[in-house]
Symmetry: C2
Subunit: 342 residues, 2 copies
Amino acid sequence: MERTEISTYGEFGLIHHLTRNIELHNASSILGVGDDAAVIDHFGKQTVVTTDLLIEGIHFDLSYTPLKHLGYKSIIANLSDVCAMNANPTQVTMSIGVSNRLSVEALEEFYEGVYAACNKYQVDLVGGDTASSQKGFIISVTALGEVDADKVVLRSTAKKGDLLCCSGNLGGAYIGLLFLEREKRIYLENPSIQPDLEGESHVIGRLLKPEARKDIIDFFEQAQILPTSMMDISDGLSSEILHICEKSGVGCVLYEDKIPISEESRNAAFKFQIDPTACALSGGEDYELLFTIRQEDFDKIKTHEHISVIGYMTEADKGAHIITKGGNTYPISAQGWNAFKK
Amino acid sequence: MERTEISTYGEFGLIHHLTRNIELHNASSILGVGDDAAVIDHFGKQTVVTTDLLIEGIHFDLSYTPLKHLGYKSIIANLSDVCAMNANPTQVTMSIGVSNRLSVEALEEFYEGVYAACNKYQVDLVGGDTASSQKGFIISVTALGEVDADKVVLRSTAKKGDLLCCSGNLGGAYIGLLFLEREKRIYLENPSIQPDLEGESHVIGRLLKPEARKDIIDFFEQAQILPTSMMDISDGLSSEILHICEKSGVGCVLYEDKIPISEESRNAAFKFQIDPTACALSGGEDYELLFTIRQEDFDKIKTHEHISVIGYMTEADKGAHIITKGGNTYPISAQGWNAFKK
């Protein structure tokens, strides 16, 4: 593969090179990359803004994460947060800190993923910063989205009696991570052994190429559903449920047998002899939506193949509990990933 | 000084702790920290958005940068970009990557500076992310601002005959940097020697506690001046002038004797036996505004004590030149800081 040194371009040249083919999709993107700041119009809508900082060695491992996938996922993680406000993603900024270890071709690959996500979701890359870093690859993304003022959905507005729902299926990304970490260990011990990922493309895809559930937001619009609360599932179902309960001042009952887990994830979990439910509850990075709806809206969602009702909200003093397949009741505890606690 | 480990709080607890006293200043800040994203209204204005990534060891040196100043400056650098669009800064997000090397008290000190800047400029901190970093302190700021659609000022719209102007004085921050780097070297060679910064508070202040020239933007509004082009001076005057010339398709004449340099900066430069003009042309981080106005607007700015006319714009094929105090003419070349070229 060709290798062009970053120094060939210099800081301004590098930004220009990486953003030279941008086409803007949204009428609201008045001015994109190339000035002190981007300019956005709103046509009467409100804006949501969210940001994420991703650091090599903490949030991703370049030894098994293709750069194109990393670019894609960096964008998706932020679009997912925008969707979780019931908003339509419209713009992103992307800043990267890179060392000379990466070539221009490697960065181009990363940006291919960035642009693939932007194109798929019709989002405009309108700005960013490129910094030199001696300390690994650093990614900072900010995403903007638009929403009618009366359609913003918060975490703090779930009510007793509401149905607890989620999109898609859960736990797969975490199991994919276990596979890749295992193959990395094996490879480090014996570099002549080829990775054995046979048959695990589903869970690995869930980890490396997640999607933001804008389709669910579009469905809400079309079906005239306004969830009573919503957030995205990036740190595991348990942790997110507890957030909604705490912020909304409610409790909840979650049914283990209603938690959507794909057949592929289930089988893959068994190979590791771990409980698929535990992966859904405590694994992360699924980027599905967790939301509550009024009971009256049940008929509107009951046939949607990507929406599962997994429980219901109760009074706060009842606490948050899971009812297992065996009929036992346990308090839900957050064991999601926490970077600071060891 | 007390030392509380970051692990005491955990990731969510840390964000909550650092942002617990936020008060929102702007009616446009509908929802701040605490959900998947912040929500902003616009009342018919357009939004500008800009972002910066700052990395320890590349952009700042904690051995002589007090954390409070670093927090302040991180915000200011982005507000300066917002002002450079002729917009009024309204919201920021702040993401940090921190290692356990830093205590909670150290982060509180950093946020004291962040809040001091937010309060001074009446800007709301509405979001952010906290990540664990084994690789030094990492800061990512995104700033939003608002502007009437017909008042956005770009870099690309200067015209032949326009007057070239800048705010404040230039070069000081670079000279401040030279002082601090010198004292650091001396200290590393002999830790018993106390830093000798006597009398250099001006240039050190220019480096460590810069301001965004929102006062100039407010003056434009009040005096009914719409600059024909504008950007902020963060990489040295030469580099910024060349940006405006290139983007606008014009040339320019810059007069050395018109470049505003404070008496303190001039004296400090002489101690280092370097040319104060070179510091203004090629030093960085002054965060002043560089802009062009129509000749008809000269009367409106001529008595403003913080605005200097430093030259005028010409046809593109005349190029960009500086006329020295001695009457010689040289092409302007960008020797601003470039992180990738050595």
